[in-house]
Subunit: 487 residues, 2 copies
């Protein structure tokens, strides 16, 4: 029971402990973007952060920002892209349920958003990394991060890499923290613009005028209740509900107990305090899904489900493989890979060597392997035979893995058990306008309330691409800051 | 924009047009069950119905009520069942996300609920129908309706049929209206107990005391605004959101524009007026899915996806085949069926002859058929060969279709195009206690507010069985009526 979440009438607040024009809950990517823009628009800005410092999940993330439409970085790396091309991809890849208006808006503003990040001091090295992987191994600035160059997406739009990665000097393998190089310059920009931040403040409810207008927040700081007045607007930017087990059971039960790329503060409180005011929600079942195996392995084998059938081209974006495996294949997958391919994969460059897995079973024949795994007799043998026959000709008519990765599977043949190898975070949340106003179930904005980042339903609906969260969090965080400042 | 949905302070209501102890919005199955029980508990009860008469979707439905645990009807038909056995099935079949507490509660009360329906005058004929089909062809009273006797469910619990069907005299093929014989005696019971009903009343918002207690509703009757006071409680029983396109886009986009077994009044208004008070939601992506082909055909062929692979035992409950096809197979399925089997299916008894489909393609060989359909070469041929080899031995190691339906596929061989053959209604909605109190996002009940039926998240989470909606609607409708009456 969380009775702290009930909206607090301003008439019941005896005095305000803190005050600003724009008050932002959460100092991750959406919060800092809102802060910079609200301050630039002349507002006095205060950020309330629940932990002891800025950063949120963003500062610990791989740092991808999904941008395109012809950014200077794309051009410097030799890639053509356009707003329409980017939108054509996202409308399919972010669905079912992708909002074409939001996708179009995001794509149209993408180049300007990149320029803004650069102006704020975020560094990008104009170097493309083309190998399979969750991240680049070094400080390369551009990567494919959504399966743009895999089937069927490569037939829907011209493949262009859109994962923009801040340059991290002295990055070490296994230390996925380019997100820090996104957050640090933005926080410095905010500080230079006069943004104030207070830490260890846990917002619990919204303060509301008698006419329904949001006038601030109530919170706890070191356990003590405090009230914070927002003269112009409140921006909610406090992350997902991946760590709220009750909400996960209600909305995304398959990921219950398996949060990934999240921080414990992602408890859904921002969503709930707005719901308590009648805020609307969207896409609550949608999640990002990390598939915990190195893509250098996946691409060199074939993935089969619990019936021994292939279901996804193995050169697809790993996050999509994760979604398809968790939701469509009952969280059951086996990677069939021969000895040579496994050896090659183990030797291949990867920033995530800890995700490289030994074979669970190794056999002299597919028939034996099928039996060892416990698959029904015959199907895996057929699957491998059909794959091999076609691969020998450089073709994959079933799933269209690209010819460069097609190689008949020989012996000894192994299988990596990839059951229960998924984790992730939620993509659903508050329903907002393109100006980041939080919508009431009536369809009208709730006056004085704005939101961005993973407490909102953003560009992704059911699909995902790495960089969408830092992308729409920063993009619509800026919108929230601007809208609140001029409110 | 629906600004009518904002909660209305009682202080703003000049006078009440109607008044009762318990006011119920919706005169379908949940509403009538609530009415009967509230009246039995001594309350003065008023039902507000939006259309010109009682019935809702229930009166037009096949009339299945999902009950078990050893009902007199199950016993009369020679079937053993127990509360634990029923719960073991439902906990798996209604998931992921099934609520074990609610499932246990529903199963424990199931026999008593059947007896109550009989006491209210609902007739059941003690005759079992064992053929594949969406419904029985005549007035038989009991059927399998959730795949209890199909793999894997037949390995999880002892199969028992639980679809209880009110007896409909003079039922004609194609007129699926046993639901009328459920509603009629219940409405008569309610009327005899003094329940009043007013029609053409469209509830739009809840009326609320300054302390947050729900005190009634505001509505429109023939376009004129009216206010209805509820001295003890309001029960929301107004159905799903299958006909609200905005909500469908937000929560269940794959069924957008394809409502099934729904009525146009299922616009989600009850959900939204409670959300406007901070009510919590659950399972918003979950839906029932009708697969629009006659089960007498499905069971006699093999179903393959867009890759030519089998994915479900064809003797599974058709609603589950629909869910797996729509959500896991990208709404793409083909039924491969030979000439003899098709002829047998067309001649088989079915109450839904309009769902029997001619073959879309007919060929002399599977290789030709594969090419005609446009499937990648080889996979369908392998699928049929493996199926046939095993079927000849009476086995289906891949999916465990029951031996009685296993027969090698011969020639001529046809395929029925079952792409885009799904329709359905939503299963998500308001989060309630087992006493049907509507929960606020705080986790506390909203005083004076109750709900049941398809505007709530009930026994089904992601899964479904026919009869669950009339089952949990009537079961938790009764709870709502009792709880409101004693409030």
């Amino acid at each position: 029971m969380d009775t702290d979440v009930y909206p607090r009438p301003v008439s019941q607040i005896a005095s305000w402990d803190l005050e600003a024009d724009v008050v932002i809950a959460g100092y991750g990517i959406a919060g800092v973007a809102a802060a910079v823009e609200a301050a630039s628009a002349g507002a006095d800005v205060l950020v309330l952060e629940r932990t002891g410092g800025w950063g949120g999940a963003a500062a610990m993330a791989g740092g991808f920002i999904y941008l395109g439409g012809g950014t200077p970085l794309q051009k410097a790396c030799g890639f053509d892209d356009s707003v329409d091309n980017m939108a054509a991809f996202l409308n399919v890849a972010m669905g079912p349920g992708a909002d074409a208006d939001r996708v179009g808006d995001y794509c149209a503003g993408s180049v300007e958003h990149f320029d803004w990040l650069v102006r704020c001091g975020v560094p990008f090295k104009p170097e493309f990394w083309g190998e399979p992987g969750w991240e680049p191994p070094g400080d390369q600035g551009l990567m494919f991060t959504g399966g743009e160059n895999a089937y069927p997406f490569n037939t829907i739009a011209e493949p262009a890499p859109r994962g923009h990665i801040p340059q991290m000097a002295n990055k070490k393998a296994g230390e996925a923290s380019a997100g820090y190089m996104l957050m640090k310059p933005l926080v410095e920009t905010a500080a230079a613009a006069g943004v104030r931040a207070v830490y260890d403040v846990h917002a619990s409810a919204l303060a509301v005028e008698s006419d329904g207008r949001v006038a601030g927040l109530v919170a706890r700081q070191y356990g003590k209740p405090i009230a914070i007045r927002a003269r112009r607007g409140v921006v909610l930017a406090a992350g997902s509900f991946a760590y709220n087990d009750a909400m996960m059971a209600q909305f995304a039960p398959r990921l219950l107990g398996r949060p990934g790329a999240s921080i414990e503060q992602h408890d859904g409180q921002a969503i709930r305090m707005a719901q308590a005011l009648g805020a609307d929600l969207a896409h609550m079942d949608a999640t990002e899904v990390a598939f915990l195996v190195d893509p250098q392995q996946t691409v060199r084998g074939i993935l089969v489900n619990g019936r021994g059938q292939r279901y996804v081209p193995e050169d697809m974006y790993s996050g999509r493989i994760g979604q398809l495996t968790l939701y469509h294949q009952d969280d059951t997958a086996y990677l069939i890979i021969d000895g040579d391919a496994q050896e090659e994969a183990m030797a291949a460059t990867s920033p995530t060597p800890f995700l490289k897995r030994p074979a669970t079973w190794v056999c002299e024949s597919v028939a034996e392997l099928e039996s060892e795994i416990g698959l029904p007799a015959g199907v895996l043998q057929d699957t491998v035979r059909v794959y091999n026959d076609n691969a020998a000709r450089g073709e994959d008519p079933l799933l269209h893995k690209k010819p460069e990765w097609l190689k008949p599977i020989g012996t000894p043949v192994g299988a990596i058990d990839l059951r229960a190898s998924c984790a992730g975070f939620t993509l659903g949340g508050l329903q907002t306008t393109l100006d980041s106003e939080v919508l009431h179930v009536s369809g009208a904005p709730i006056p004085g309330l704005y939101a961005a980042g993973r407490c909102t339903a953003g560009v992704a609906a059911w699909g995902y691409a790495s960089g969408i969260s830092l992308g729409d969090g920063s993009f619509y965080g800026r919108r929230a800051g601007r809208a609140a400042a001029k409110n």
